[in-house]
């Protein structure tokens, strides 16, 4: 199989060129993971909440057809236009058609991972529409011409001095000023003008309630609300899996979401959009883009329970030290690594291998997705389908051949120890990935098997 030029390992290598920066990135994300723990521990019923959230989402996935119809009916009764998009292209076309209908060329957009997944910004720009991302972190990476590196913290990989320089170039702030307070104030001014002049606002959706037809959008900055309330048209874009059955279920999910994401008790704004404001039109675009197909795959379907909190990224030892961009997909980290191959197995074949399978992601997931088990399952599917590199395949076959034959295992252990002892350069070289950033261990004198037999002889037979 033809190997992609820039897979996770290569991109992670690039990120790891600057070790102090990797350490900083690692620590920053771990700090957020710790905040999540503190927030979770304050809720006695935390585990029961996770279980309830998981069960509600299981129910949603098993009954999505009915819930979507109910949601559509309610939303239409609320005066909202509902659109259905089978894939990313159709989603982009629908959104563009609405914008065009209103004769608008400049729009604002709050955070939406779905629109990242569909590459809406690029598409609209090709049609001559200027999209301004209004979440501060997203605006920063947009000005820099990059995708977000984290679903909740889009510019977590940026240092304040670099943001100061970026703002100096694009927003005309004084050179050398890297004070977060000052830079945020400058962005506030800059984006206020956009809010004041934009007639169309796009938002994502955190939860869509089938019972009421309302969509709930959570932000800390208030950018979704400001955009929508000052616009003539509100377009809310959502994956079909964002449905929850009833309003009361929001109680469960809003208790879990922000605590899992950043350790906050709740986001500053949890806004329930049910009917457009007088004089405004509201559209909801329901997007499939591979989701209905994914639902048919028993092993992987429950990845669709994800509520996009990012807890699995903050805790992941690989994500923290490889950076979000090394995943080359809109959603990075463990959850992205099980979602991306479902969309394009060949393109994202490297991602399920970007994990230690330590299981920490599954432990923090607020809706109990078995992320690490799915990573392992994906590896099997990918190898069987021939989507791994010849080197990896040869390595795995070699390991299998040795590990399944005790005789060969014993001999190769002895041979390995001999080489490590007398010709260490054979393993201590750049070609051996285990030698990267670490010394190889000292060579043991004997194998465990040899030690055991010797020990047993010396100490008699008492177990």
């Amino acid at each position: 199989m033809e190997q992609k030029i820039q897979d996770h390992a290569i991109l992670a290598d690039k990120f790891n060129k600057d070790i102090p920066r990797v350490d900083w990135h690692d620590k920053t994300l771990w700090f957020i993971r710790e905040k999540r723990d503190k927030a979770a521990w304050q809720i006695a019923e935390w585990e029961e909440l996770r279980e309830a959230a998981s069960q509600v989402k299981n129910n949603v996935l098993d009954n999505l057809h009915d819930y979507l119809l109910e949601f559509e009916k309610q939303a239409q009764q609320n005066g909202v236009t509902v659109h259905w998009a089978a894939n990313a292209e159709e989603h982009n076309r629908i959104v563009h058609a609405i914008i065009k209908e209103h004769g608008v060329t400049d729009i604002v957009k709050s955070k939406s991972m779905l629109t990242e997944e569909c590459h809406l910004n690029e598409y609209l720009q090709q049609q001559g529409i200027t999209v301004v991302d209004t979440d501060l972190g997203e605006r920063i990476v947009q000005l820099a011409g990059e995708p977000p590196s984290h679903i909740v913290l889009p510019c977590i990989h940026w240092k304040k001095e670099e943001i100061g320089e970026l703002f100096h170039q694009h927003l005309g702030t004084p050179k050398g000023n890297a004070d977060p307070q000052f830079l945020t104030a400058a962005a506030r001014e800059h984006l206020r003008q956009r809010f004041m002049t934009s007639r169309v606002a796009i938002t994502g959706v955190n939860f869509a309630v089938a019972e009421t037809g309302e969509v709930v959008v959570c932000t800390n900055e208030g950018n979704a609300d400001l955009g929508v309330q000052l616009a003539e048209v509100h377009i809310a874009c959502m994956g079909i899996e964002k449905i929850i059955p009833q309003r009361k279920h929001l109680g469960i999910f809003l208790r879990l979401l922000a605590r899992s994401a950043t350790g906050q008790p709740v986001t500053t704004y949890s806004s329930h959009f049910r009917k457009p404001r007088p004089g405004q039109t509201m559209h909801i675009v329901l997007v499939d883009n591979g989701r209905s197909e994914r639902l048919q795959q028993e092993s992987f379907r429950n990845a669709l329970k994800c509520i996009r909190c990012g807890a699995c990224m903050n805790t992941c030892p690989v994500y923290r030290r490889s950076g979000g961009h090394s995943y080359h997909y809109a959603i990075a980290g463990p959850i992205g690594s099980i979602l991306a191959p479902g969309l394009d197995m060949k393109k994202h074949a490297d991602l399920p291998f970007a994990s230690t399978l330590c299981g920490s992601c599954s432990n923090v997931c607020p809706v109990k997705i078995n992320i690490h088990e799915q990573l392992y399952e994906w590896r099997q599917v990918l190898v069987k389908s021939g989507h791994v590199s010849p080197v990896k395949k040869a390595g795995i076959s070699g390991m299998a051949a040795v590990l399944s034959r005790p005789g060969i295992y014993k001999v190769s252990g002895a041979v390995g120890r001999w080489f490590m002892k007398y010709i260490p350069a054979l393993v201590n070289n750049k070609l051996n990935p285990w030698y990267k950033q670490r010394e190889m261990p000292a060579v043991p004198k004997q194998s465990f098997n040899e030690w055991y037999r010797q020990n047993r002889k010396q100490n008699g037979k008492q177990s």
Partner: protein, 194 residues
């Protein structure tokens, strides 16, 4: 409409013989302690201010002390001084509002949030566009958890409603917390006991 039919058809396939039942939402016991104290503690922790008052006059006095006479203050609480708004006004004209005073339905102790609906906002843009926001919450309306909150909301048909928990904020630049991202730079909650 072709895609609608296609998606629904794909979803109508039976995935399992045992579809997961919808669980009951359990009523979790509230944590011990006074919900008003907890609300105050949590809200201060997320950048909000709280002021305990026993009359609307005290609220007026507090605002008069904090804001100059030239400040544009809009009050949707009839007992609190401030200008009213005319219906059907262009929301962009609120750009220079310094303070908006609103009365939410209730507060939630566990997260410092207050539930407010469009009928109490004057204009839906006001809670977000104003430079500062003040809320008047009666102490007897503070609930323990979000479950209680949704029980209280029930099936009320509000065109728009939002939980607001503190001032607009961001920590996108190196995790440094900055209050006043796009919306209000401060939030003051008057805890009114009667």
């Amino acid at each position: 409409m072709e895609s609608r039919a296609k998606i629904l058809q794909a979803l109508s396939k039976k995935f399992t013989d045992h579809p997961a039942p919808l669980p009951d939402v359990k009523a979790f016991p509230p944590t011990a302690g006074d919900p008003v104290d907890k609300f105050e503690f949590i809200l201060r922790g997320i950048g909000g201010r709280t002021v305990r008052v026993s009359s609307y006059t005290e609220i007026d006095e507090y605002i008069a002390k904090e804001y100059t006479s030239g400040a544009r203050i809009i009050s949707l609480v009839k007992e609190v001084a401030g200008s009213a708004i005319t219906p059907d006004i262009d929301p962009h004209t609120f750009e220079n509002v310094d303070l908006v005073v609103l009365q939410p339905h209730f507060g939630v102790a566990e997260n410092g949030a207050a539930w407010i609906t469009s009928d109490r906002m004057g204009d839906r843009a006001l809670p977000f566009i104003s430079q500062h926001i003040a809320l008047v919450i009666t102490t007897d309306s503070i609930l323990h958890t979000m479950h209680e909150a949704y029980e209280q909301i029930g099936n009320a048909d509000h065109p728009f409603g939002t939980f607001i928990a503190g001032p607009s904020k961001t920590a996108d630049i190196e995790q440094s917390l900055v209050l006043g991202a796009h919306g209000p730079k401060s939030m003051t909650v008057f805890l009114l006991s009667r």
